[in-house]
Symmetry: C3
Subunit: 266 residues, 3 copies
Amino acid sequence: MKIITLTTDFGSENWFVGTMKGVIAKIAPQARVIDLNHGVSHFDVAEAAFSLVSSYNYFPHDTIHVVVVDPGVGTARRPVIACGDRFCFIAPDNGVLSFVAGREKHMRWFHADRPEYFLPHLSDTFHGRDIFAPLAAHLARGTDPVKMGSLITDPAMLEGAEFEETRSVSGAIKGRIMYIDCFGNLITNISSSAVDNRIEVEVSPLRPTVAGILPSYDSVPVGEAVVVCGSSGFLEVAVNQGSAQKEFNCKKGDEIFVYVTASKKG
Amino acid sequence: MKIITLTTDFGSENWFVGTMKGVIAKIAPQARVIDLNHGVSHFDVAEAAFSLVSSYNYFPHDTIHVVVVDPGVGTARRPVIACGDRFCFIAPDNGVLSFVAGREKHMRWFHADRPEYFLPHLSDTFHGRDIFAPLAAHLARGTDPVKMGSLITDPAMLEGAEFEETRSVSGAIKGRIMYIDCFGNLITNISSSAVDNRIEVEVSPLRPTVAGILPSYDSVPVGEAVVVCGSSGFLEVAVNQGSAQKEFNCKKGDEIFVYVTASKKG
Amino acid sequence: MKIITLTTDFGSENWFVGTMKGVIAKIAPQARVIDLNHGVSHFDVAEAAFSLVSSYNYFPHDTIHVVVVDPGVGTARRPVIACGDRFCFIAPDNGVLSFVAGREKHMRWFHADRPEYFLPHLSDTFHGRDIFAPLAAHLARGTDPVKMGSLITDPAMLEGAEFEETRSVSGAIKGRIMYIDCFGNLITNISSSAVDNRIEVEVSPLRPTVAGILPSYDSVPVGEAVVVCGSSGFLEVAVNQGSAQKEFNCKKGDEIFVYVTASKKG
């Protein structure tokens, strides 16, 4: 039976996620549910999108990834099912699937508009339980997504700063802090591959500047800053056994500049 | 094999819940354990009771719901097993099952007083591991609860403010804030059905007042307050994409008054 | 199929633990993963060691316990597999298995140095996903640990204050606060068995002093301090329905003295 993962901004201090699992167990008793991340910042669609793209690919093919970060719960925003060659995704149609949409092939998108695949009684405030969990369970049972909704070609995608591509700006690569993890590491949207041949970098406007991409956190002494190729494929600014967030007093969304000060073959 | 849910005030920052799962896996390897809520405020029996009643009914029949919020751990308070037509419940006999007891039919109550269904060595401080987890596991294996304890007719029930019914007070319905969720939404004990035909309400003493029950959080602009029919069947005061708790500076237990200012057919 | 438990300092607010479960599900679909504790203080190897020794023994034999608290991630520190008569353990070789090593018999230690049991692409910063999860999954599938690494005889062990044994100091037993749980209970490293025949004790330097080991938290009135035999087999200082941490304003690592003021037969 299939795996269903759950990514939400519900936290782990209440009965919301547990109740979704009850609903799934009732419809698809054999489905296996894995908590992927319930610590997304409230209503932060871009953070949820980044969390998903950093993790979804490590699951077995045919996994159903459910994301419920849904500032528009109860409005007319559509619930969508997106199925590609390897995975299916279920989420509100608010752009939270933007990053995976750019990576997965042959995605077909459906507006899940058939109430027979929801719970019989819909609340206005908890569609994770009433809509998204039942959709995932029916999909896990093998229901064809074609039966569960209408094909659409205009899924919502993130735009603007939230989804900004990194850009070259007078010799520098300009990016953003996409996520700050529980260790205080600053995870950027600058692909590690973009800097493969640049052995010296400066990350600005962080002061003091951090020079060089090094192999691991403790390539520098305890308490010092370092730039590493992070585990999700993006540059990451860290402090060895410390918190880069505290050290540099920065926050999610802040701009980051990487300057090439020397190339490998320079 | 049956599902066992766990509701505790243990939090998710230690080995307590994980250890209970180890105990269950040892006795009932096929049982499936689902975390329902480990974020109940410490020792808050009424909050645990409210969490349970808001969620238990979404699970498959025959689910065993275990609640370990137990200020009296190590004292003579009884461990109880309560089995109704659809679910079984296991908890300390401190009133935490009051709300579900009012909803489930044909509940038989047992004082679980047979040490052969506990762990061989009992600590004085961790009955979740030593008593409640083993009881749940034996029940999941199919042991008849009649064998596991003595029938009782006097289970403890919550009384007073904690379990106060809503009341009509000079045209208003008086209730209480039962729970504040992670979004800062204020969940009351006023049943949504009690106000079905009252299309304009004022919630007091919240200032500024909130007028009208609306279909969803974003029936009002971002940052404004709204009253909705919450997902557990109770009125809920929210701020669209904000925190009603911060906006109104209120806390769990505070009184809430709903005034009927106009009726649907008025 | 076997059980794999996970103990980490990753917290529950991100996708790190979920991703490890994806990796395990891909390699060993039948393995059952149980979260043992993800709230270990960041980089705190001694706390993780204490958490593990307090819980591992409650799981079925053949359980695979994985610990990823790894300040040296990305360095040359070895990943180790340790198999005893009853359990296997997988962890970075940093002493985190010190406490269980002292209790389990016939432990064989392996340096897991065969990359074919890792993920194909190794990051420098997330060995929980790239090394430890795959090792656990292969072990759960039944791979012989002999094939997965080279036998070693010098696993790292904690030393000094972190692993200090309790000591008799002029009539007192000197120990340390090893852990403060979510209720504010102070869990020491003084074995309950060491004080079995001492019916009156003083715990110092806590002021006011706490006298006597009592059966349960509420052997004293609400709000008062009490010493109990904790559930992990160690003395524990608590405040009935309150927080000993706040009451005594102390922190992990603080020294504790237990004075024998009268013996049972004195």
